[in-house]
Subunit: 96 residues, 10 copies
């Protein structure tokens, strides 16, 4: 099941810098774990913003919800989820 | 140079059906040509809508503009272009 | 896989009345077929508008896309799809 | 009387964690009480967000107002209420 | 059951003038019938626009839906329905 | 002179509870004074929100401005003012 | 009674040019009549658009409604009305 | 050079009352100075809000920018600037 | 006097192709005339859209209004005008 | 590669004044460095707001992202990036 997730991160100006760094490190570890597992298929940065466009490939909506809401930076994120499906014209196997 | 392009297609209800089919066939050919050339990196359908989310990888903004505005269905499309760049945490080579 | 679909119908004022009735009859038949199959789980009318709120329970995003885009009234509809999942507090089995 | 209520919860980052847990537990109890009473007919989670889509079946607008504004998490919620009615095509008795 | 309905009327510039007058006359008759029956409690014009703010007092959402969608000018209207309830501070009996 | 005023109240979560109660009591007194004077013609609650829809009948825009900005809860309110006038079809004297 | 009215004019591309000129001439006559009468106090063009910002000074909302809806170009206009009142700091008599 | 400036003032609830009064007094002085100089041509209050609609007549955009950003209440204001020009139909000399 | 103008062009699908080409040729001539005169200082295309971002440097708002509304493609354009002024940090003479 | 960047700056009212001045000085130095390098091609102030419209000419989206996110005032800015390309009608070499 494919979905695009657009994530915007807003960490308050007065949030503890060290704690923020710790959360970002955890976020990166979790992200790479999910990338290796094939769940978090793609990620790109949005130019000029602390934001990304991501493509997920998961078993179910519940799995996606659990993945997203347990991200270390989740409390600082606004998320928009767009359900996608394979485009019949695509020649690429991995645009499934 | 990476960019996300969100395309929405609106063909008027009274538009000639045969002409529409002819344009869709050309659109598909042009799309696959660009996909094979590595310019149109990804495409996914947006569930429930005549719309797609696409990722382009081009030499320049001008090349992207020329590709998009010469699509056979361009006169029926609304497009939103979001400039992207590689995410430093990504382990995938092709999320460049 | 659960999703809320909000459908708004706009049939142009000058559209052929008989053809509109024919399409509405087909829409109703197709709807009831999908309701019996358990795919179109719920439907409610939005007060004062030619619109509905529906809950779908399907195998995949692709199945949902195929169902929605093949509805007889689809060319006259604007759709908004919101992916849902079971709420852990719910006591009802069928809010799965 | 049927209504869809879309609830978004925003608990401030610096809100006391224990108090938040206490309120969530009360919210769940109150929700299940109302679900058993048949007032809160359905609830689903919105994927990736601390939000739900709910269907209420109440005696009157006043009853709905009292139910919603006395929820333990009400001070942290934004609510959008959409009045619904039974769809004449529905075969399901409980889409009343 | 109380509701505010905000109605905006847009009759196309090229719509037949006589037919428009006929519909407006029917609209007025139907309005006054509903006003006398106590269903359409209040109506006010919005300054500078072909629009009104109305208060309805009906038995159910279904009754409101049937009233609104059978108005002679309904095909030309956009409607926004806001569910209301009596304000506990009001001293007026008829703000029920 | 008639106007609809839509008032939304937002009292910050950490605002002193006793002071809030004191302001609400004053607000109610002031409201009923204005209702008795015939200035604040109608008030209804918006279901599920700390908000109301009100109809004012005043001598002038200046009088309305003075009434609204001197309400005890004014500093916590967002207001939208829509100028209205009597609808010529209305049979009710008091929809003046 | 003071009000700002923002008027946007949209005459369809295929509207009869002569009829449009005739309406514009009538509009100008009616405008100057109202300006001389002191009702239409000010008018300014919005740069780059077929639009104006106007200040009216009328007896009542009803008078304003009648003036606006009887303008020759009214069927082609979108209007936004903002009720104003004299600013207490103003030294100018005619900002009443 | 004419411009409409719409100013909305938001002073935080916990801002020092005396300091706010001091700033408002300075704002009024500065306003009247500019009004006398013919720069701040008109000002009106927006009913029910701490906001105004103003017309400026200045030498240049830079002069307008300097005037607006040096207002004592500027840090609490949101401003929207709309460039205007004389309307050719106006009979009033001072709508220049 | 500097201003940014964002122009979006929408030529209807069924508009005469030859007439459109004729208007585009005139538009280009007029543009280059204004560019040579130093009035139309800059122009850039917006990627993927029939739109541009332009910078004008004119004597007055009236001059800008006359230039914009007399463009051959003006009837097909939506324009947004943003008044600008020189940035004090700029080292470039021509960012005046 | 050309892009328009619209930057809005919001420094909280209670932010340390000296630190703000220090950041603004650094911002100006960094800006002029980038202007001299030909990366930050143009900058203009938006009248009445702490905001600018800028044109960048960079090697890649990644370079633009690095430039923008490392600006001293970046944590206080909201940015909107619009990809541009040379307009074929332009006679100016530097509108490349």
């Amino acid at each position: 099941m494919l979905a695009m997730v657009q994530m915007n991160v807003r960490i308050p100006l007065d949030f503890d810098k060290q704690e923020a760094e710790r959360l970002k490190t955890h976020e990166k570890q979790r992200f790479q774990e999910l990338q290796r597992a094939g769940k978090w298929r793609h990620i790109w940065r949005v130019v000029g913003r602390y934001a990304n466009v991501s493509i997920f490939d998961v078993e179910s909506n519940s799995e996606l919800h659990d993945i997203l809401t347990s991200l270390p930076l989740y409390p600082f994120m606004e998320m928009e989820v767009t359900p996608l499906c394979r485009h019949p014209s695509s020649l690429h196997e991995d645009d499934r």
